[in-house]
């Protein structure tokens, strides 16, 4: 187990810079998710760390050992001791579960009691029953395949485990249970892990740290709550959860916008872009205290609902409210902003 340090790494394919000067530190034993839309370069970053690709500039180090860059010969993937869990698991279809898990163990150890013990230990770690060892990959569900793939990558005690969108092919209910099991297994084995995903719920709920990537660049790296509550710019805010971004005028700790006066997290002056989370927009159904608007659309989810409101000045605003009592399209409501609001310098025109 070791920490991971990526320093100024760049990789291009033709004219496009897939990974552009990325610097990232992953603490020993921690779990980092790299979050970004498709094509942002997150998978390329993962493949650079695994050693399937070689960076053009910058360096990658596991603990104190530089594995690529800094003028050293890049270490080939098979000597890096990196566990790699690709999409859909990619179990070896000709081997059973036990042989898959034991694949990366030393040749002398394979087929011995020690291997059997290790396989049993790994199955236990990923919370699969011990009698799964003789199943073939095609007899497993998608979630079970992912767990075996993780067990296979953990068996040789890697320095680091890389997971490439491991849950994207699973259906919603399986995704939740599988990802939590994976999280527990990584925690129990105290393994440093990097998981790449485009799903913000997954990224926020699993990780100690979230690294947000956009167009090849790392735009923010922080804890899940920091990324959600203090996104580095409005675009990150809109990618990590829904956000209402309104123009406003700030004066010290307060600003005015289409939703009235709001309190800022930090003082600002002049023209600003205000980022308001939908759950901060309170919809008042009974009093006419606040900014008036007409309900356009209601998406009811049970535990809560999303309400799209058109204000009298034409601005459209999204609110997220409890599902217990909710308005219907056409109702006239009044909106207020609760809690603190982040102000950004408006994007250059």
């Amino acid at each position: 187990m070791s920490s991971l340090t990526v320093t100024g790494v760049t990789k291009s394919f033709g004219a496009t810079r897939a990974v552009d000067d990325v610097t990232l530190h992953v603490r020993h034993g921690s779990f980092t998710t790299v979050l970004g839309p498709s094509g942002c370069g997150k998978t390329t970053l993962l493949r650079l760390i695994a050693g399937f690709l070689v960076p053009e500039s910058g360096s990658i180090a596991f603990g104190d050992t530089v594995v690529a860059g800094d003028g050293t010969r890049p270490m080939p993937p098979q000597t890096r001791r990196v566990g790699y869990v690709p999409q859909e698991g990619a179990l070896f279809p000709h081997l059973d579960v036990a042989a898959n898990i034991a694949f990366g163990l030393e040749k002398s150890a394979r087929g011995s009691d020690r291997t059997d013990d290790r396989v049993a230990e790994m199955l236990d770690l990923v919370e699969l029953p011990a009698d799964f060892r003789h199943r073939r990959p095609d007899e497993l569900s998608g979630g079970q395949q992912q767990r075996v793939a993780l067990a296979r990558s953990l068996a040789p005690q890697p320095a680091l485990v890389l997971l490439d969108e491991p849950f994207s092919s699973l259906d919603a209910s399986l995704r939740g249970s599988t990802s939590r099991a994976v999280r527990r297994a990584l925690e129990a084995s105290n393994t440093t892990a990097v998981l790449v995903t485009h799903d913000q719920n997954e990224a926020l709920s699993l990780a100690d740290e979230v690294a947000v990537m956009r167009a090849g660049r790392l735009v923010q790296s922080a804890t899940p709550s920091q990324v959600y509550l203090s996104p580095s710019d409005p675009e990150v805010a809109e990618f990590v959860g829904r956000a209402v971004v309104l123009p406003g005028t700030a004066s010290r700790a307060r600003a005015t916008c289409a939703l009235g006066e709001v309190v800022l997290t930090e003082p600002a002056e002049g023209e600003v872009a205000l980022m308001i989370r939908p759950e901060q927009v309170y919809v008042d159904l009974t009093h006419d205290d606040g900014v008036r608007g007409a309900v356009e659309e209601v998406s009811y989810y049970g535990h809560d609902c999303a309400v799209q409101v058109r204000l009298d000045d034409g601005t459209s605003v999204l609110s997220r409210m409890s599902g217990v009592r909710h308005p219907s399209p056409g109702d006239i409501v009044h909106l207020r902003v609760t809690g603190l609001v982040r102000a950004y310098r408006p994007a250059a025109p």
Binding site: A50, R81, A90, P93, H94, F103, G104, S153
Partner: protein, 491 residues
């Protein structure tokens, strides 16, 4: 290489003389014969293949599984054996009508099989949504099913065309002269290399036209493939009063395509064994056939591995070119490859002329595409990501090849070699031209007996040829096996 031979020859011989060689009344007649027969057979097999496939896959025809087996069975009977069966029963089966009938009955499975495979793969939801939109079954067939079947149907029909252009044995027995039989006659009677090669040039052109059409279809087809998740069965169409006529029609096809050759074979076997049953010669021919086919299968499969590796793992212009060029060889009739190798070996390396080496080389050229298609399907089951996982687990490239790639492609290597083995065992044309003097194979022995009208003596060889073909047919029928892709490759 055979293509290069024909091309250089055409250049060397000069346009004037070439023109004189090509434009002769004889050639015009051959061209008319070849083209009309190919067109008629392609049309007939297309209609027959689709109709039978629909009856078996989409209606409540009784005993559909059994009919399917019987309808594919003609593939196990080489066309020249089928021709022999008909001619030996009734001398009046010859000329255009005879050739048309026999060839259609031999080749319709080439359309039937891919159409059946396509019908099974198609998501029934497509048809169901068409009915729910108020279309009748007939209209659904025309507007939804037929357009989807088009690639399989056209691909199969083109295959029939390519087979027909290469067909020598059946047409020769049925005395219907086409380019292929003319080339052989010219080569055999006069050793007239110039005339034979000129005719071969025209034949290659015809093949290339069909091949280009096929390659275009192949390119489109990739996108039309539907996932195999949807394995639900469509509610079969109730035939009602049409059940009896449909049964009779399918029965008639089976009787003509399977019954007649079987009856004829059994009859000649009975007559033949009463006079002679040369066990020693049969064994000798069988051994020679097996040895040649084994050698050819091993050489061809080994040659396929680098081609497939380049095509799948290192996609690029060069690798595509190499892979495609094997498909061009695919369209070359055995007669052209044989002729080219004869002339080339006599000019360049006379030592190998009439040796087993040359014959095996001809087999490798002819059947490389079969091995490539099968092995390719296998290698695509071993995606690169598995190599990457193995590497990340600390396993080096060589060990990865041994522990991951090889076990995964081993079944397809076996299937490819088996297919080539069986194809070689029943190959007639190139074997006739290139086999070393004194080497007797099943095909050559059968041929010498049947072309001398010794039908009884030919029967045991014909039976062995059919027996050898059965395993390949079974491989082809399993549509889920990698070998099923090979149905698209002509002999």
């Amino acid at each position: 290489m055979p293509l290069a031979y024909v091309a250089t020859y055409v250049v060397v011989i000069g346009p004037v003389e070439l023109w004189q060689l090509v434009v002769r009344p004889r050639i015009v007649e051959l061209l008319r014969n070849t083209v009309t027969l190919a067109a008629a057979c392609m049309a007939a097999t297309a209609v027959l293949g689709v109709a039978l496939a629909f009856l078996v896959e989409r209606t409540d025809l009784p005993g559909r599984r059994a009919w399917h087996g019987l309808l594919v069975a003609p593939l196990a009977v080489p066309a020249f054996v089928n021709g022999y069966a008909w001619v030996s029963l009734d001398r009046s089966v010859h000329g255009f009508a005879g050739a048309f009938g026999v060839v259609t009955l031999s080749y319709y499975p080439l359309v039937y099989l891919p159409v059946v495979a396509m019908l099974r793969r198609l998501d029934p939801a497509l048809e169901e949504s068409a009915w729910s939109l108020g279309h009748s079954r007939a209209r659904t067939f025309r507007t939804v099913l037929l357009p989807q079947l088009r690639p399989a149907l056209l691909g199969g029909a083109l295959l029939v065309g390519l087979h027909l252009l290469a067909e020598f044995g059946a047409l020769s027995l049925l005395r219907f002269p086409t380019f292929t039989t003319a080339i052989y006659d010219q080569y055999g009677s006069t050793f007239n290399g110039a005339a034979a090669t000129a005719v071969a040039g025209v034949l290659v052109l015809l093949c290339l036209v069909l091949l280009l059409a096929d390659l275009r279809l192949r390119g489109d087809r990739r996108y039309a493939r539907v996932g195999r998740g949807a394995a639900r069965n469509v509610v079969p169409l109730a035939l009602g009063p049409w059940r009896a006529p449909a049964l009779a029609a399918v029965g008639a096809v089976v009787a003509l395509a399977v019954g007649v050759p079987a009856f004829s074979l059994v009859r000649w076997l009975a007559i033949g064994t009463s006079t002679q049953f040369p066990v020693a010669e049969l064994t000798e021919a069988l051994v020679a056939t097996v040895v040649l086919a084994l050698a050819g299968a091993v050489v061809t499969t080994l040659a396929a591995i680098p081609v497939v590796w380049l095509a799948v793992r290192h996609r690029g212009r060069l690798s595509t070119l190499i892979e495609r060029s094997t498909y061009v060889a695919n369209a070359l009739p055995g007669i052209v490859v044989g002729l080219a190798l004869v002339v080339a070996s006599l000019r360049l390396v006379p030592v190998v002329y009439q040796t087993a080496t040359l014959l095996v080389a001809a087999y490798a050229i002819l059947f490389l595409p079969r091995a490539v298609v099968t092995v390719r399907a296998g290698l695509e089951q071993a995606p690169v990501v598995l190599d990457e996982v193995a590497q990340s687990l600390g396993v080096g490239p060589l060990a990865t090849a041994r522990r991951v790639t090889l076990p995964l492609i081993a079944p397809s290597l076996g299937a490819g070699a088996a297919l080539v083995f069986l194809a070689i065992s029943t190959e007639l044309t190139a074997t006739l031209m290139l086999s070393p003097i004194g080497t007797r194979t099943l095909a050559t022995e059968f041929w010498s007996a049947s072309s001398e009208l010794r039908y009884g003596a030919a029967a045991p060889y014909a039976l062995l040829l059919v027996l050898v073909s059965i395993p390949a047919t079974v491989l082809l029928m399993r549509t889920d096996s990698p070998a099923a892709q090979t149905e698209q490759v002509p002999a």
